[in-house]
Amino acid sequence: MQVTSSVREPLVTGGKTVHDVTEDICRQVEGKPSKSWMLGMAVSLVALLIGAYAVFMLVWEGIGVWGLNKTIGWAWDITNFVWWVGIGHAGTLISAILLLFRQKWRMSINRAAEAMTIFAVICAACFPGLHMGRLWLGFYWALPLPNTFGSLWVNFNSPLLWDVFAISTYFTVSLVFWYIGLIPDFASIRDRATNKISKMVYGTLSFGWDGAAKTWGRYEFVALILAGLATPLVLSVHTIVSFDFATSVIPGWHSTIFPPYFVAGAIFSGFAMVLTLLLIARKLLKLEDYITREHVELMNIIIIVTGGVVAIAYATEFFIGWYTGVEYENYTYMSYGAATGPYAWAFWALIICNIIIPGTLWFKQVRTNFITSFIISIVINIGMWFERFDIIVMCLSRDYLPSSWSMFYPTIYDVGVYVFTLGLFFTLFLLFSKFFPVINMAEVKSIIKSSSSKKN
């Protein structure tokens, strides 16, 4: 018997029935694309095309077209890489960790969040790939494949290689998890399909799902196992991304707190992106009864918690930098030198966007308001981009030798490749939101009885 305490807010409003859920979600897939969808798609495609030009020039000319210099060998490229990987984390957190914790409120947001994870990881993977300059040789360089280049072999001691393993595993598990969740819903769409093409397409996608009790049993079993696998993966991916920096002896990068701090930051930024996307989706796709004020508040609370963890990590970095007594520490991204140096604007952008503005979420009026939540979610996305930019560029810009000190100036190709991934991300997400059910119908139906508000 399921019991739900009366102090819990309903998770589905408007007195929906099980049938209403099917209707509300499938309508989007079955109908014609809306005008706003077309407009969004057009903008995304333009960004994608402009970006594609930058990518083409980059591959054609080599990475010299970026603004990197001898002192600052990583800048926007790796910043964007870490930013995108981080965004991906929220999807897995919602789908796996919240599943293990049996949080019912994940039901109506997990599908979109998982899709976001997959698209974000694809965008992230663009950067290390393009950074290699010769993308087509990347497989030899990044994977431990037997090759014909003599003794050339991957460096197993390098965290960059661990990254390849971690992210490819993460991507695979996330994809399988997402897809298995989609199968029952594809079957629903197949069963409702009125024309031959969609019957065939969704029929193929649903793998002959028959909805038998035994099939459901297996489905739930697989979901649990994948959740168990995905949970350590969420931790491992950003841990290893943090190792890219922390295993070095660069002041500001070499810090033992990096692994958990990066994971917390990743979830922080990922939830901000989930909010950005879902706040738009709930309006455009008319999902107000499924993605409720309660959902937004709960996501904002996760943002408060992970933001708090990140703030403690910043304070720790600042403090230990001073505590070591090492003079180089005064040039790291979290130091007095950073707050007053040539990159002070980037330092303060980070503090304002990641701590001060999200701090307003402590007020209930702010975190339950859709507009303020939307604005803050975008601010956090910007702030978390600056966090990675600060860690990478500021720490590199002050080399051990003052004669090597440098600044980084992005070229249009730095910006262009970033625009490319943004275009790619939104194109993929819009395609998803049109052709796939954006809410997991099967799972939402399972909580209609226990967590839905009654019709007035």
């Binding site: 102090v7 692994p259 958990p260 990590a313 304070a315 720790t316 007594g325």
Partner: protein, 463 residues
């Protein structure tokens, strides 16, 4: 729901008193042995190999330290320690006394953690609106009754142990010819007093403030929780939630600073940004194990029938998961310092790995706190059976005592740390006192909150 009350019977008290007496006897025995055994080197004299290793590592450590200390203090470690007295300073305490001090501090920190985690667990359950855990929330809350005692013990014993446990308290380190690195850090401890002052004001103020805040929140939360029994309704639940949020914010900050102050500053040259969370992870998993163990023992004595295998399964998952989390934090700290191989960082692990007295603890720590809980709690059934919880929790509880032993002892005792009757005895004394306080308070109120808004959910919890 009817009320259920725990009675702290005379029989149980008697058992605890006997255990306490055994602890005192062991402690006295250990002290006498360490007095007659003399210093660590002689004590280990019969093991030629150990002594050799110790010497090797002594020179290793001295060379590593020479790099980050002022030249005047390079001799700090190893046999040269006795010269310290020549600075016109406080004389080094006798070996046995120093060992008692070191031990006292290990238990201070360990039991402080246990007490504060009792409150932390409750606060997390309230903030997260967790329904499953209602049945044993009060077991967790009862641990927090140790907070004021932990505070007083820590505050009083600090003055006693400071010159032996906290190297940075020595006035000769500051001023001309002193230790440059510690001079830089001095304001953290002494501000606004002069560096090397007998009153490290900033440090002491922090200690008092943290315990005061923790205790204050504990009193507030406790008051609301018990008022709910009488008045019912959800207002007390909401208020407890509010206080829990305030507590979590304070705890998030103070647990890290406490770890720096009370543990990391024992090795004053060494630093690790992860250290605050490492200490937290150790406290947290240990607290979970104690909560689970007390719950199971209560159940086996006929109490808490509302807690069943489903609830145990969930707390078992927590123990399993956070054992892995502790290992994760341990590994992150170890790997990054090992990989970068900077002398001022690796010295910490060299002291623990290369000094014969501690090598076994280093590996034991990993076996007790990772390997065993990981393997034993892996299956679903293991988490649902009281017999296995009763095996795994004591392993973890002992394991994390060793974890704190390993964080503190090498910094205090250098090459001469030991483990014997003294350590076991003092742990037993602290443990008995702790249990007395916790169980006494547990007996004062109903065992579970009958008006908790999630009680019904917890009763029907099924996984």
């Amino acid at each position: 729901m009817t009320e259920e009350r725990f009675s702290f019977t005379a029989g149980a008290k008697k058992t605890l008193v006997i255990l306490g007496i055994v602890g005192v006897v062991l402690f006295v025995l250990g002290t006498v042995l360490s007095m007659s055994g003399g210093h660590g080197h002689e004590a280990h004299g019969e093991h030629e190999e150990t002594a050799l290793n110790a010497q090797e590592s002594a020179s290793l450590l001295a060379s590593a330290d020479a790099q980050d200390e002022g030249s005047a203090h390079a001799e700090e470690h190893g046999e040269a320690e006795a010269h310290e007295a020549g600075h016109g300073e406080h004389h080094e305490s006798a070996y046995w006394l120093k060992r008692i001090y070191s031990n006292l501090w290990v238990n201070n920190v360990y039991f402080t953690g246990l007490a504060i985690i009792g409150l932390f667990f409750v606060a997390v359950q309230y903030v997260a609106q967790a329904g499953w855990s209602v049945g044993f929330l009060r077991v967790s809350l009862s641990l927090a009754n140790w907070i004021p005692i932990a505070g007083i013990l820590m505050f009083v014993s600090w003055w006693l142990v400071r010159y032996d446990v906290f190297h940075w308290t020595h006035a000769s380190l500051y001023g001309p010819g002193g230790d440059e690195i510690l001079q830089g850090k001095a304001p953290l401890w002494f501000w606004p007093m002069e560096s090397g002052s007998a009153l490290p004001l900033f440090y002491i103020v922090r200690m008092v403030l943290f315990f005061a805040l923790w205790y204050m929140l504990f009193v507030w939360i406790k008051k609301e929780i018990f008022a709910e029994d009488i008045n019912g309704g959800v207002d007390h639940w909401r208020k407890t939630r509010k206080y829990s949020v305030i507590f979590l914010v304070i705890f998030g900050f103070s647990s890290s600073v406490g770890a720096w102050d009370w543990v990391m500053s024992i090795d004053p040259h060494w630093f690790s940004t992860l250290f605050g969370w490492y200490v937290f992870a150790s406290w947290w998993i240990n607290g979970l194990a104690v909560i689970a163990l007390i719950t199971v023992v209560l159940k086996q004595n006929g109490y808490l029938s509302i807690v069943n295998a489903n609830h145990l399964h969930d707390i078992g998952k927590f123990i399993f998961g956070f054992s892995i989390f502790w290992t994760y934090v341990w590994f992150a700290q170890f790997l990054l310092q090992y990989y970068a191989n900077m002398p001022e960082e690796t010295v910490y692990f060299l002291q623990r790995l290369e000094v014969g007295n501690y090598t076994w603890v280093f590996y034991l720590n990993l076996i007790l706190n990772f390997v065993l809980p990981f393997l034993l709690l892996m299956t679903r059934d293991a988490k649902r059976h009281m017999s296995l919880i009763k095996v795994v929790c004591p392993i973890i509880i002992a394991g994390h005592w060793f974890d704190f032993y390993l964080m503190i002892t090498p910094g205090v005792m250098k090459l001469e740390g030991g483990f014997g009757f003294m350590e076991i005895g003092m742990l037993m004394i602290f443990g008995v006192a702790f249990l007395f306080v916790a169980l006494t308070s547990l007996a004062k109120a109903p065992l579970y909150p009958k008006n908790h808004p999630f009680l019904e959910e917890s009763l029907h919890h099924h996984i």
